[in-house]
C-alpha cells in the first residue's frame, strides 16, 4: 500500500475538535431555525456537555433558552443540588416538570416495581406542550443503544411524542431540516456522534464540573440483579438483601430507584478514563435496570415518546 505523507500542521484536527465543531454547527442551526427551543437537562454528564457546547455556540451571549428538568422525585439529592448550581452559574431559566405532582394529583399511578422512569414520558410531553417548545435539545448518544444508533440528529415526534423509525428523514451533508407539522415537535441530539469515552475526554479537556456521584465515594449499597443499588428513601433493600458499605461511582445519572453503581476507586476524570479503557460492559448495561427488561427496552420506550 502507499505510504501517505501527514497533512500539514494545523489541519489534522483531533477527534474532540471535530465532534465539538459538528455539535456547535447543529446547535446553531436549531437555535436559528426553531421558534422556541429548550434544553432537557438532567444534571447527567451528557446534558452537562450539551449545555457547555450551547454556551460556546452563542458566546459571548448568554444561553438564550430555558433548561427543562423532568423531576421524577427519585433523583439523587447531589444531582438536584448540582442542577441548581448550574442554573445559577449560567443565569438560566429552569422549567421543572414534576412526576410527584402528577402522582399527587392522581394523574399518574406509581408502577408496581416502584420505579418512575417510565412515568416521565407523560410529564415530558405535557411540559413540552404547555411551554410551547417546538424543539428540545437532548444529550442522547448513538453509541448508547441499538435503537439510538438509528435515530437522527433531528428526530421528529408526532403530536403524541412518538418516534417512528420507519419514517425518518434522511440527514445529508451538514444540512439539517427541522421543518415539521404544527403540533409535532423535534428532539435535537447534537452529541449523537460522541461516545462515552469522547464525553469523558471532553470533560477532562474542558474541565467541566459534574455531580459528585460520578466519582468514587463510599456509600451504603445492596446487590440486586447484579447491580449495586444505593440505600435511599426510594430504594430499600428486601429483607434478604445485605446492606454493605462500598466504594462506588455512577456511570449514568438516573433515578435512585433504578440506577446501579459500579464498584470503583476512580475519584477523578483521568481515573474514570482509565477504567473505561478496560471496562467490558456498556454504560447502560452496567447500570440501568430500566434497559435490562428486554433487548428492545429502549426502542419500546422511545416509541412511547421517551427521551
Amino acid at each position: 500500500m502507499t505510504v501517505t505523507a501527514p497533512a500539514p500542521a494545523g489541519t489534522q484536527r483531533s477527534v474532540l475538535d471535530a465532534l465539538e465543531a459538528e455539535s456547535i454547527h447543529i446547535i446553531r442551526e436549531v437555535l436559528a431555525e426553531f421558534e422556541k427551543p429548550g434544553l432537557l437537562f438532567s444534571g447527567g454528564k451528557d446534558s452537562v456537555v450539551v449545555l457547555h457546547l450551547l454556551a460556546k455556540a452563542v458566546y459571548p451571549a448568554r444561553v438564550p433558552i430555558p433548561v427543562v428538568h423532568i423531576d421524577t422525585g427519585h433523583n439523587f439529592g447531589e444531582v438536584i443540588n448540582f442542577r441548581d448550581a448550574v442554573v445559577k452559574k449560567y443565569g438560566l431559566n429552569l422549567v421543572v416538570g414534576s412526576v410527584q405532582e402528577y402522582i399527587d394529583r392522581g394523574e399518574l399511578k406509581e408502577l408496581p416495581d416502584g420505579t418512575r422512569n417510565r412515568l416521565q414520558t407523560r410529564v415530558l410531553l405535557d411540559t413540552i406542550e404547555s411551554n410551547g417548545f417546538d424543539v428540545v435539545f437532548g444529550g442522547a448518544r448513538r453509541d448508547e443503544d441499538k435503537a439510538r444508533a438509528k435515530e437522527r440528529i433531528l428526530s421528529l415526534r408526532d403530536e403524541f411524542g412518538v418516534w417512528d423509525p420507519r419514517n425518518q428523514r434522511p440527514e445529508i451533508w451538514n444540512l439539517y431540516n427541522g421543518r415539521h407539522e404544527p403540533d409535532w415537535h423535534v428532539r435535537a441530539f447534537p452529541i449523537s456522534n460522541w461516545t462515552e469515552r469522547d464525553i469523558w475526554s471532553y470533560i477532562q479537556r474542558e474541565n467541566i464540573e459534574l455531580p459528585p456521584i460520578y466519582f468514587a465515594h463510599k456509600r451504603q449499597v445492596f446487590e440486586r440483579d447484579g447491580m449495586w443499588r444505593a440505600v435511599t428513601p426510594v430504594s430499600q433493600p428486601e429483607p434478604n438483601e445485605q446492606v454493605t458499605i462500598k466504594q462506588v461511582r455512577y456511570r449514568t445519572v438516573g433515578d435512585a430507584s433504578c440506577t446501579g453503581a459500579v464498584l470503583s476507586a476512580a475519584d477523578d476524570v483521568q481515573k474514570v478514563l482509565d477504567e473505561l479503557a478496560v471496562s467490558t460492559l456498556t454504560e447502560r448495561g452496567a447500570t440501568r435496570a430500566d434497559d435490562r427488561i428486554s433487548a428492545a427496552a429502549m426502542e419500546d420506550r422511545k416509541s412511547e415518546g421517551y427521551f
Binding site: 505510504v3 494545523g10 475538535d17 448568554r62 452496567a286
Partner: protein, 431 residues
C-alpha cells in the same frame, strides 16, 4: 487524544454479507463489549445460528430495531463507533435492500471513505454499478471495494483479479480516482482486521489497516462560511463578561467549510446576490480567539465594518461564488413522491432557505448502464438532472470544489419533508 476521526459508509446488500462484515470489523476491533456480546450469543443461539455452541451470528451486531430482528432485514442507516490506537471511526451502515439509494446517499454524504461489498461468486452486478454510481455522484473521497466470501471461491486469485479489473474499469468510467479492492472473508475474518492466511498472493492491506492509514484531504478551496446565527449579546451577555467591552459586539457564527481564514483577510459578503466588502477583525473559536481558522471549525467572525448580514448570507475570501437564481443540478429523490416540472419546493443551501421551483426535468439516470433517459417525473430513489429556479439568489459552487457550496436539499413546503438531495456540478455535455 490526538487521533483523528474518519467517517465511513458501507454499501451493499445483506446477501453480500455486509452486516457480517461490519459485525466482524467491530468484533475484531474489540468494539463490542461483554454484555453486548452476551446478547449476541443469546440471540445467535435462539436463531439457531451455526452448529457449534458459541458461534456468533455477527450480522446481528448491526440489527438495531425489534422490527428488524423479527423480519431479518435492516430498515435504516445505523451508526457505529469504534476506535483503534491510530484513529476513531464513525461507521454509517447503510442497508442495501430497502430504499438503498436514499440510505446510501444519507450515509455517504458525510463519509471520508465508502466500503462497497461484492460477492466473490457473483462479481460485479447491476447493484454494484448502482452503488458505485451513487458514491461517484456524491464524490466520496476514498472508495474501498471488499470482495467478500473469498472462502467460497477457494481464495482463487484469478477470480479476484478478474473482479478487481472490472471494478477499476467501472471506477475509471465513473471518474472515481482513489479505489482499492481487497479480498476478504467476513465470516472467517480474513483481511478484515487480521491478514488472511489463505491468500499468500495478496500483499495489500487489511480493511482496517487501510482505514487506519487513509489520509484525509482537507477542503482546500477558497474560504467559505455560511452565516448560521448572528450573535448580538446586548442585554443577554454570558455571566461574568464586561458589558462595556461587548457593547457594540456583533458576531457572525457559522462553520468554515472550505479553506482557511485569518485576521486581516479581506472578505466579501454575499447577501441575496449583492456583494459587500469588509475585513476580518477577529475570529472566535470554541477555544477562544485565534489568528487563523481552518476548514471544519465552528467559528464566530467579527468584521471591521458595519455590514448588514443575516442568517443565510455567505462570507467568502478569494474567488467569489456565483450568485444565481437558476441553475442545473443532479438530484436524488429521497421521499415517496413524484417530482414534476413546475413543482413548488423550498431549497435549503448552506444556511439559506428559499422558495423555489423544479423548473425543468432534463433526464433520469439509468443506473444500470449510466445512460440518460427522458423523464416527465422523478420518483423515490431516482437520480436525475433538473433545473432549479429559486426566489432568492443562491451562492453556488461546484460540488467538486466545495461539498457545502455545491449541495442543497429540496423540501416540501407543505409537510416539511425532505424531498431530494441536490448536487451542483458542471457536466461533460459531450457524454
Amino acid at each position: 487524544m490526538s487521533t483523528t476521526l474518519l467517517r465511513i459508509a458501507t454499501a451493499g446488500s445483506v446477501d453480500d454479507g455486509k452486516s457480517t462484515l461490519v459485525g466482524r470489523l467491530l468484533h475484531d476491533a474489540k468494539a463490542i463489549l461483554a454484555d453486548s456480546l452476551d446478547d449476541l450469543a443469546r440471540t445467535s443461539a435462539e436463531r439457531g445460528f451455526g452448529g457449534e455452541a458459541g458461534a456468533l451470528d455477527l450480522a446481528l451486531v448491526t440489527d438495531g430495531l425489534r422490527a428488524e430482528r423479527e423480519q431479518g432485514i435492516t430498515i435504516d442507516v445505523a451508526y457505529r463507533y469504534f476506535s483503534t490506537e491510530k484513529r476513531s471511526f464513525i461507521l454509517a451502515d447503510c442497508p442495501g435492500h430497502v430504499q438503498y439509494t436514499r440510505n446510501t446517499v444519507t450515509g455517504a454524504s458525510t463519509a471520508d471513505a465508502a466500503i462497497v461489498l461484492v460477492d466473490a461468486r457473483n462479481g460485479v452486478l447491476e447493484q454494484t454499478r448502482r452503488h458505485l454510481g451513487v458514491l461517484a455522484l456524491l464524490r466520496v473521497p476514498q472508495l474501498i471495494v471488499a470482495v467478500n466470501k473469498m472462502d467460497l471461491v477457494n481464495w482463487d486469485e484469478a477470480r479476484f483479479t478478474q473482479i478487481e479489473s472490472e471494478i477499476h474499469v467501472l471506477a475509471a468510467e465513473l471518474d472515481l480516482h482513489a479505489t482499492t479492492v481487497i479480498p476478504v472473508s467476513a465470516l472467517d475474518g480474513d483481511n478484515v482486521v487480521e491478514p488472511s492466511a489463505n491468500a499468500d498472493w495478496y500483499a495489500g492491506p487489511t480493511l482496517l489497516g487501510l482505514l487506519e492509514d487513509l489520509t484525509l484531504a482537507q477542503p482546500a478551496g477558497a474560504a467559505r462560511l455560511d452565516v448560521q446565527y448572528v450573535i448580538r449579546p446586548q442585554g443577554g451577555l454570558a455571566p461574568g463578561l464586561d458589558a462595556e467591552y461587548y457593547r457594540d459586539y456583533r458576531g457572525y457564527a457559522g462553520t468554515l467549510v472550505d479553506g482557511s481564514l485569518s485576521v486581516g483577510d479581506p472578505v466579501q459578503i454575499l447577501s441575496n446576490g449583492y456583494p459587500a466588502h469588509s475585513t476580518v477583525k477577529a475570529i472566535g473559536t470554541p477555544a477562544g480567539l485565534v489568528h487563523t481558522a481552518h476548514a471544519g471549525e465552528a467559528i464566530v467572525l467579527e468584521l471591521a465594518d458595519e455590514v448588514d448580514i443575516a442568517r443565510g448570507d455567505t462570507v467568502v475570501a478569494g474567488i467569489l461564488p456565483e450568485a444565481v437564481r437558476e441553475f442545473d443540478a443532479d438530484i436524488c429523490v429521497l421521499a415517496p413522491v413524484k417530482l414534476a416540472e413546475g413543482q413548488r419546493v423550498l431549497i435549503k443551501h448552506g444556511a439559506k432557505v428559499a422558495a423555489a421551483k423544479v423548473a425543468q426535468i432534463e433526464h433520469v439516470l439509468n443506473v444500470a448502464d449510466y445512460s440518460r433517459e427522458a423523464a416527465a417525473t422523478l420518483a423515490l430513489n431516482d437520480l436525475g438532472r433538473i433545473t432549479v429556479r429559486s426566489s432568492a439568489a443562491v451562492s453556488v459552487a461546484d460540488y467538486r470544489d466545495s461539498r457545502t457550496g455545491g449541495s442543497f436539499l429540496l423540501i416540501d413546503p407543505a409537510t416539511g419533508r425532505t424531498l431530494a438531495a441536490g448536487i451542483i456540478q458542471a457536466h461533460d455535455e459531450a457524454a
